[in-house]
């Protein structure tokens, strides 16, 4: 990790910690996000990803440790950091009384854009986000997906080098999610923007250059999705059953393997999972709805690294499962 590069990384944290009273939300985090990469922060709710997001967006001061954005200390040079980052909040930070364009105008003024730059940039952002025909609409009348786009347009207006997004896919339908991913790809390839986003969707993590898994305030995994999956040898068996507890015990007795229960399914890693299927099917025929064998997914990496059975809330888990 410690390479002597001349250009500072987009994000560097050292021993970053934050404590809310008794609760240690972040416990000594060391993380580097390289320039122009798409880094996804994955983790269960309360794992620390939102705390990290708030610290990097200069809203929250760390209790100890440090965080640098392109070499600028978030505590000592917050304004330098603020100029470099664009922040997209989970609940869009728009004024619902104002129109889309008026929101962009306020935003542009806060970032010191001149009138002509403001006109040029807002037009371009509205166009790129497909909002040109909604420019005069009050944001309070827009759907959740459109609001998210306004929020992204706001975040990009001053051409940040690092875009921070907090669960940007929440509340988006699959088509809108695809549009978002296309936009993020385009921002990186065309504009050289570094993207750091939190997510609880495996599908989104799969698209990242590197994935950081946070659990209980610690970094439990960091690497490319392929590398992380490669560390799980063999195959993963997933059994759907009405009685997962009993089946897990059955698997242990039959094969000696330890299974996890993830969103109501029994999952375990096995060197040659396919060879186990006939035995499992025979032994538990009356209790099994389906058995699948496959290559490990990020969900398996997640379960192994965090020990968590669920990702976020129930809804998030379902989406992760589908990935």
């Amino acid at each position: 990790m410690s390479r002597s590069e001349s250009a500072p990384p987009a994000v560097l944290t050292e021993g970053l910690a934050h404590r809310f009273g008794e609760r240690q939300a972040l416990a000594g985090l060391d993380l580097i996000v390289r320039e122009k990469e798409l880094c996804v922060l994955l983790g269960p709710n309360g794992g620390g990803k939102t705390t990290l997001f708030r610290i990097l967006s200069t809203l929250l001061r760390p209790t100890s440790g440090k965080a640098l954005v392109f070499g600028h200390d978030i505590e000592r040079e917050p304004d330098a950091v603020r100029r470099l980052i664009g922040v997209v909040f989970q609940s869009p930070a728009v004024d619902r009384q104002l129109t889309v364009l008026e929101n962009l105008e306020v935003q542009g003024r806060l970032y010191g854009l001149t009138r002509s730059a403001l006109r040029r940039e807002s037009r371009e952002m509205l166009q790129r986000l497909g909002l040109l025909d909604r420019a005069g609409d009050r944001t309070g009348t827009l759907s959740g997906g459109l609001l998210r786009r306004v929020e992204i347009a706001k975040g990009l207006l001053h051409r940040p080098r690092l875009l921070l997004l907090d669960e940007p896919s929440t509340g988006l339908d699959p088509a809108a999610r695809r549009d978002l991913h296309d936009l993020l790809d385009q921002l990186r390839s065309r504009d050289g923007v570094t993207v750091l986003m939190t997510s609880h969707l495996m599908e989104e993590a799969e698209r990242s250059d590197r994935l950081a898994i946070l659990s209980r305030g610690r970094l439990v995994a960091l690497g490319t999705p392929a590398d992380l999956k490669a560390e799980i040898a063999g195959e993963v068996v997933v059994i759907t059953t009405p009685d997962p507890e009993a089946l897990r015990e059955g698997v242990r007795r039959l094969s000696g393997l330890t299974a996890s229960i993830v969103d109501g399914t029994v999952r375990f890693e096995a060197q040659d999972g396919h060879a186990l299927i006939p035995r499992l099917a025979e032994a538990f025929a009356d209790r099994v709805t389906s058995i699948t064998v496959g290559r490990p997914t990020l969900l398996d990496v997640f379960v192994r690294r965090t020990g968590h059975r669920f990702l976020g809330d129930g809804a998030g888990g379902d989406e992760g499962q589908a990935a």
Partner: protein
């Protein structure tokens, strides 16, 4: 510097746009004090004894206080948006922008002040109905004093709203704290002739001094006595101080690190 001015201007302008888009707020802040003024001067006029025993009737007495009440209501209505901004998330977008906290507070407070003063000036036009005919100089002075009082009240209201989680909580504070602030400012009844404990409360009320200054300006030439009123110099200094302290508090609150 230019950036800071632009940021303050953008935030202040936003306050005004928002305010005028919510017509019920405009009407509420304007109409209620005027209704108070009409009903109270009609109902209490006969039993009112002017300070010092001489001078114009209750309609004239209550007029400066009515204008200040409009400032207060407008200040409250405009700073309630602080709570909405926090709840709806707009505020965090502003907080991550490269803008000093002082500009964020100033934008909000100046926007609220401009609204409050413009509404109050509208009501100032009703002065002849109260039998008052202040000269152009007195009117110009009155607008200046209204700006000072409006600034202080908006900053005070900002301080209250900053930590509030709900607008209901704000309404509670308004009833038990901000309304008495107005009631005890010499707006509604004169300090002259009040019992000593009440006079002490009136003297302690920072709003008393702005109202007194406004009264001197608006009632000049009406034959009103200034019995029981603080001096013009004291009134001005106290009002400036009121604004400085409330703005200082607002700034301190906004600079404090986030939860």
């Amino acid at each position: 510097m230019r950036g800071a001015v632009m940021a303050v201007g953008a935030l202040a302008r936003r306050e005004m746009v928002r305010f005028f888009r919510e017509r019920t707020r405009v009407v509420g802040a304007l109409l209620q004090p005027v209704m108070f003024w009409v009903f109270f001067s009609a109902g209490l006029g006969a039993s009112f004894r002017p300070p010092g025993g001489t001078g114009p009737g209750y309609a004239a007495y209550l007029f400066p206080g009515t204008v200040v009440l409009i400032l207060l209501f407008t200040a409250i209505f405009s700073t309630i948006s602080v709570i909405e901004d926090r709840r709806e998330g707009f505020l965090q977008g502003v907080l991550v922008a490269p803008v000093p906290r002082a500009c964020i507070v100033l934008g909000k407070v100046l926007g609220g002040t401009a609204l409050a003063v413009s509404q109050a000036v509208l009501v100032l036009l009703l002065a002849p109905l109260a039998g008052l005919r202040p000269g152009p100089l007195a009117i110009a002075g009155a607008i200046g004093v209204l700006a000072l009082i409006g600034f202080a009240l908006t900053a005070l209201s900002f301080c209250i709203a900053w930590r509030m989680q709900s607008t209901q909580g704000f309404h509670a504070i308004m009833t038990v704290f901000l309304m008495p602030l107005w009631l005890l400012s010499g707006s509604f009844f004169p300090a002259d002739g009040a019992p000593a404990w009440l006079r002490a409360l009136i003297a302690a009320d920072p709003l008393t001094y702005g109202v007194a200054f406004l009264r001197r300006l608006l009632l000049s030439g009406s034959g009103a006595s200034d019995a029981g009123l603080p001096s013009a110099g004291l009134s001005l200094v106290a009002t400036l101080l009121f604004g400085a302290v409330t703005f200082g508090c607002a700034l301190t609150l906004a600079r404090r690190a986030d939860r």
